[in-house]
Amino acid sequence: MADYKSLYQEVILDHNKKPRNYGTIAHASHHADGENPLCGDHISVTLKLDGENIAAIAFEGESCAICKASASMMTAAVKGKTCADAEMLIREFRDMVTGKLEPAASDHIGRLAVFAGVRDLPSRVKCAILPWHTLHAAFSSVASASTEAEDDPMRTLIGSA
């Protein structure tokens, strides 16, 4: 049974209230907008690559607590990492929230495991995944991401969640 109590944990409420890396980065090298047309939530991610490294990253937008906390924790997790590491984390996060990966089976998920609770709440999976989705789009220099876009590589994965 879905357990919302475990979903709205202190960590998530805290990141929602005091989001890390909130705003935009001047002279960003990469940028993408993400939108969930089903609820109107939207966030944008800007970042600056230094070679292969994510030197700076920020997000802003309007969304529910799950989405905002996910974005906040995502920026904290990938800052200073390489693009390849971030892409791997995107994949693992996606697998975790769609129930394909146990958080304990990953060496990288760490505190992001608080989002594992959305796996039983199909309507909330999209909220948690949107920032990651948008980060992925930013790397690929896709100007905008949508949880519903036909050509979105993650669409079917989310849709079938």
Binding site: M1, A2, D3, Y4, K5, L7, Y8, L13, N16, L38, C39, G40, D41, E62, S63, C64, A65, I66, L121, S123, R124, C127
Partner: protein, 419 residues
């Protein structure tokens, strides 16, 4: 029937009577997350009482066959029951003739039928269609498709901050190019009851036909299509204690006869050769293929069920719930009701400062409370109120004051979690 325009004085039904009605709804005994289900999402879909469930089972176990086709016993029985259901719906909305009741798959399907059958035939380049800011996407998108195809134009009636249509502005939108009006009777997002009778009279004085989207009105108040004098009236079975997959388009016989068919196929024809097909008479002209027979018969049973309680009693009970819930929510700091029309049905849209509707919906569900969160298929309306979404509690006659109390406690809990 003027109950539609006049808010009835709130006189709640005695609690014992509501408890007896609740016993008819097996699903209301469910527990969700270990709490009794508090079902406040009736505007999205209402629940089904045992007599309607039983009717579906009886049809399926003893009466089912295809209709209008064969001469054997079961086909005769199924046809009779299906046509009897049509008469029940005719009486339910007081249509003049049973052939004015077209079975569709729901409100959306009914509006699309009018767009194809009437719109594509009678609306052309430069013509204007009047809609309102309040409309559900079901009464916007088909008309946009038509406007795009024909080069017609959509004009939109604005609203005030309470969520009421500006009738002066509506009247000013009319000109010689105005060919059609589409308006909802009751707003699914705000609860506003629109003065459709007055709007129809104004349009008719200018020779303009009117379609009323009655999806949110039919379940909650007595509807008399002859008194309203609308040309078309659309509604869905699943919002009035009936099954999904069935709904009704009421149309004046003269309008329906002039329209072109929507879907082609079996049952809607008189004769077919490869050179030419002649169409059946109404209502069959608009009922191509095998209809959802069981659902139509179930809908007939739902109309009987509601009529036995009495639509005026239903409206009074729901208004009592609305009044109480409105008062309670207004007493909560940091909670704002969106939609404060003077004439309202039992729909309460609200926002909580600093909390996204999705989070409200999830946390209320934890308490067993079902509300809808989102844009309610009315994005233009959300934009008008500068919100992306709201939470919406919508009541049915089987809801109780105790359930309103549970909602209020649930909202307080949400505020505590996000404090």
């Amino acid at each position: 029937m003027n109950a539609v325009q006049t808010p009835l004085k709130s006189r709640p039904a005695p609690a014992f009577y509501i408890e007896r009605l609740r016993a008819d709804f097996p699903i209301l005994k469910l527990e969700v997350n270990g709490k009794p289900l508090v079902y406040l999402d009736n505007a999205a879909s209402s629940q089904m009482p045992q007599p309607v469930i039983d009717r579906l089972v009886r049809y399926q176990t003893t009466q089912h066959s295809n209709i209008h086709r064969a001469l054997h016993y079961l086909s005769e029985v199924a046809t009779l029951e299906f046509e009897e259901a049509r008469r029940k719906l005719q009486r339910f909305i007081n249509a003049r003739e049973e052939r004015e009741v077209i079975f569709t798959s729901g409100t959306t399907d009914a509006i699309n039928l009018v767009m194809h059958g009437y719109g594509r035939k009678f609306i052309g380049a430069g013509d204007e269609i009047i809609l309102t800011t309040l409309e559900h996407h079901a009464n916007i998108v088909p008309w946009q498709m038509l406007a795009e195809e024909k080069g017609a134009k959509i004009r939109v009636v604005p609203i005030n901050d309470a969520g009421e249509l500006l009738i002066d502005e509506y009247e000013k939108l009319f000109n010689e190019r105005t060919k059609f009006v589409g308006v909802m009777h009751v707003s699914n997002a705000l609860g506003t009851i629109n003065p459709v009778k007055q709007m129809i009279a104004f349009a008719h004085a200018r020779g303009v036909p009117v379609l009323v989207d009655g999806a949110q009105a039919v379940p909650h108040m007595k509807i008399d299509v002859q008194d309203l004098d609308c040309d078309f009236y659309a509604f869905s079975g699943h919002k009035m204690c009936g099954p999904t997959g069935i709904g009704v388009l009421y149309g004046k016989a003269a309008q329906l006869e002039n329209m072109q068919p929507f879907k082609g196929g079996g049952d809607m024809i008189a004769t077919v050769t490869f050179e030419k097909t002649t169409y059946n008479t109404i209502p069959n002209k608009f009922e191509a293929g095998t209809p959802p027979i069981a659902a139509a018969i179930g809908l007939g049973a739902a109309a009987d069920y509601l009529s036995a309680i009495g639509m005026d009693n239903i409206a009074a009970q729901e208004l009592a719930l609305l009044d109480y819930a409105t008062e309670q929510i207004n007493s909560l700091p940091g909670v704002r009701i969106i939609g404060t029309a003077r004439h309202k049905a039992a729909v309460l849209s609200f926002v909580i400062d600093g909390v996204h509707p999705h989070d409200i919906g999830s946390l209320l569900s934890q308490e067993g409370i079902a509300v809808r969160t989102g844009h309610h298929c009315a994005q233009p309306l959300m934009r008008r109120f500068k919100v992306s979404a709201t939470s919406r509690a919508s009541f049915a006659f089987y809801n109780t004051m105790a359930e309103v109390d549970a909602l209020i406690a649930g909202i307080r809990n949400v505020q505590k979690v996000f404090a």
